[in-house]
Structure formats: structure tokens, C-alpha cells
């Protein structure tokens, strides 16, 4: 590297010693500096000015670059490569974490779906069972059968036959006289006085005319009532009359008594 200082190029030792013994030198340096500052424009001054302008420009640009650029702008290639490698390793880790979490999420969603499906099935099962056991009201298309019995000759046997025919035809809910819900536990028996036109349904008296409401396929249910030798013929042979009307909106509001099991337990 060329020396910036022309001339003797003295080492530090001589420098340290020189100014002290010669009293002539210090005013010399100051005068020269002042002289240079006051000097008329010359080629040397211009060249020095251009070079110093270059130096100032480069220094300012570098300072700006260091201050404003990203911290990696001045980094060396090795450092950058290392940085890049550690970053891509971190990215790999994050990606595998992401995949794991996505798997977990999918599994959770799947189990949630399964649970929701099971819940829905259980709900519909519950509804079906509630209707079957008569603990909730029911509505739907069906038929209304009115049995008039002026002579008091229609008994529990006939009504039981009617209920059985309706069940055979797929009735999903049956009710007698808007009062007695017919379920699996329901029993029918004749009243104390048959000619009185009274029946006992689940221990409650039911009087003629008997109105049976059944929810199910209207066509099938009607067929089940009017077929030859069926309910209609049976009741008319006893001296009564049967009228059947179909409706799209049969309302069954009565509830069966709460089943009360004392002895039975589910077998495992």
C-alpha cells in the first residue's frame, strides 16, 4: 500500500521526539495550514477538492446504506448462506408443525362430525321412541274412524280388533276419543255394564261413540277398515255404524301414562 505521506516516512519514535526540541516547527505547521486555507484557487486545491468530495460522498452513501438498508445488506456471503440455512431449517420445522396441526385438526373435525351424526341419530331415535311410547303428542296424515253404537253392543273385543287392524296397516300413533293414547302397554276391557256403551282403556272409562284417530298412510289405513269382513262389517253386524274420514292433519294430543317398571330390568 503506498504511503499517503510523501517524504521521509519517519517512524513513531522520531515523531514523538521531534516537535519538542525544535521551537521553530509548531508555528510553521499552523502558518502552513492558514496559508493553505487562504491560498488562491490552484490546480492542487481543485484536485484535492474533487477527491475529498468523492470521499465525503462515498462516506455519506455508506452511512446511509448501513442506516437504512436491511441489516443483511452488508453481510458477507458465508454469513448469508448460514443465515439462509438456519432460516430454511426453521421453515422446515414450522412446515412439519403445520402438517401435524392440520392432521390434528382434521381428526378433531372428523370426530366432531361423527359425534354430530351420532347425536342426530340418537335424537331421531328418541323422537320415534317418544311417539311409540306415547310420551309426546303427534301430528300427521291419517284417518278418523267414528263407531256409533246405539245398542251398546260394540265391546272391547271389537275395538281391540280395530286397533290391531290399524297396527297391521302401519298406524304409527293411535288415540281413542281424544283421551286415551293407544301404546304397547294399553289394555282394553269391557265396562261394568256392556249395554251402557262404556269401555275401560288403561283403567279409564271411554264412552260411545268411539272415535279412533290413527296417523299413518291414509290409503292403507282406510283399506284396513273397510275390507270385506273387516271392522265395518263386524260393527254393522252388531248393529252399529262406522264412518271413516281421511285427513292430512290428524292431531293426537293425549299422552299415555308414564310407564312404571318395577320388576323388569334391561338384560345386559
Amino acid at each position: 500500500m503506498p504511503d499517503a505521506t510523501p517524504g521521509p516516512g519517519p517512524d513513531d519514535e522520531t515523531r514523538t521526539v521531534r516537535p519538542a526540541p525544535s521551537p521553530r516547527t509548531p508555528p510553521d505547521g499552523r502558518r502552513r495550514l492558514l496559508g493553505a486555507l487562504r491560498a488562491h484557487p490552484s490546480r492542487g486545491q481543485a484536485v484535492a477538492g474533487v477527491l475529498l468530495a468523492l470521499l465525503g460522498f462515498a462516506a455519506a452513501v455508506q452511512v446511509n446504506a448501513v442506516r437504512s438498508d436491511t441489516p443483511y445488506a452488508g453481510a458477507r456471503r458465508d454469513d448469508l448462506v448460514q443465515l439462509l440455512q438456519s432460516l430454511s431449517a426453521a421453515q422446515d420445522r414450522a412446515a412439519s408443525q403445520l402438517a401435524e396441526l392440520e392432521d390434528t385438526r382434521d381428526a378433531l373435525e372428523e370426530s366432531t362430525d361423527q359425534r354430530a351424526t351420532a347425536l342426530q341419530e340418537a335424537k331421531s331415535q328418541l323422537e320415534a321412541l317418544q311417539i311409540l311410547s306415547g310420551t309426546v303428542g303427534a301430528t300427521g296424515p291419517g284417518i278418523r274412524i267414528t263407531i256409533r253404537d246405539p245398542d251398546g253392543t260394540v265391546g272391547a273385543r271389537t275395538l281391540l280388533n280395530a286397533v290391531e287392524e290399524l297396527r297391521d296397516a302401519g298406524a304409527e300413533a293411535v288415540e281413542i276419543n281424544d283421551d286415551a293414547r293407544v301404546v304397547a302397554q294399553t289394555y282394553l276391557s269391557d265396562g261394568a255394564d256392556l249395554t251402557d256403551g262404556e269401555l275401560i282403556v288403561d283403567g279409564r272409562p271411554v264412552r260411545a261413540p268411539y272415535v279412533l284417530e290413527a296417523i299413518g298412510s291414509t290409503e292403507t289405513l282406510s283399506e284396513a277398515v273397510v275390507f270385506p269382513g273387516g271392522l265395518t262389517d263386524e260393527v254393522e253386524a252388531l248393529g252399529g255404524t262406522v264412518t271413516v274420514e281421511t285427513s292430512d292433519e290428524i292431531e293426537i294430543a293425549s299422552l299415555a301414562p308414564e310407564p312404571d317398571t318395577e320388576f323388569v330390568e334391561p338384560s345386559t
Binding site: M1, P2, D3, A4, T5, P6, G7, D12, R15, R18, P19, T25, P26, D28, G29, R30, R32, L33, A36, L37, R38, A39, P41, R43, G44, Q45, A46, V47, A48, G49, V50, L51, L52, A53, L54, L55, G56, F57, A58, A59, A60, V61, Q62, V63, N64, A65, S68, A73, G74, R76, R77, D78, D79
Partner: protein, 110 residues
């Protein structure tokens, strides 16, 4: 006087134009600036010694910058770029300190 003016003009231009450093020059610019500083302090000391010569100043300035950049470039090619540039900065820093010491003696007699 003109030299001082040039320095001020350069700094102002660098601050206000805010040019971006070309990518290829980025490793060399800081070293080049330090080398140019060394040349400048050497020139100031020569001025106080009364032996300033503009031709020597120009040549030393340019060659200082070029050699410093060359050393850094070589270091990069050899894989010891950061160590070599540290070494260049240390050497130039020592020279700047000794030159400043000489200037101080001239101006303050101390």
C-alpha cells in the same frame, strides 16, 4: 479552502441524493472509504510538514482505495474476506491514528 468545500459538497450530495450502493460494490465501499480517509489524513499531515504535493496525494488516494478494494476482493475469493477486511481496517486505523497524532503536535504542540 476548495478542498474543504469539496468535502462538504460531497457529504451533502451523498445525504440528499441517497443513491443506493450497487450490489457489486457493497463489500468494498466501507473499506475504500477508510482507505481514502487514511490518504486524506496523510495529506493533511504532509501539508503541515510543508511537503504536500498534489500529485502524490492523488496517486496515494487512488492507489489506497484500489489496493484496499483489491485486498478485500482477494480475501473474498480466498474465503477469508471478513478476516482480511478486518485486518485492512486495523492497519488503516493505526496509520490514521499516527497521522492524527502528528497533526495534533503541529497544531497544539502536544
Amino acid at each position: 479552502m476548495i478542498a474543504l468545500l469539496g468535502l462538504v459538497v460531497g457529504v451533502i450530495a451523498g445525504l440528499f441524493l441517497e443513491p443506493s450502493v450497487p450490489l457489486g460494490l457493497q463489500p468494498y465501499l466501507p473499506i475504500a472509504v477508510v482507505a481514502a480517509l487514511d490518504a486524506t489524513f496523510g495529506a493533511l499531515r504532509a501539508l503541515l510538514d510543508g511537503i504536500f504535493d498534489e500529485k502524490v496525494f492523488v496517486i496515494s488516494f487512488v492507489s489506497n482505495v484500489l489496493v484496499a478494494a483489491l485486498i478485500v476482493y482477494l480475501g473474498d475469493q480466498l474465503g477469508v474476506g471478513s478476516q482480511l477486511s478486518t485486518g485492512v481496517v486495523v492497519v488503516l486505523g493505526i496509520r490514521i491514528f499516527s497521522n492524527v497524532a502528528a497533526i495534533r503536535r503541529h497544531l497544539f504542540h502536544a
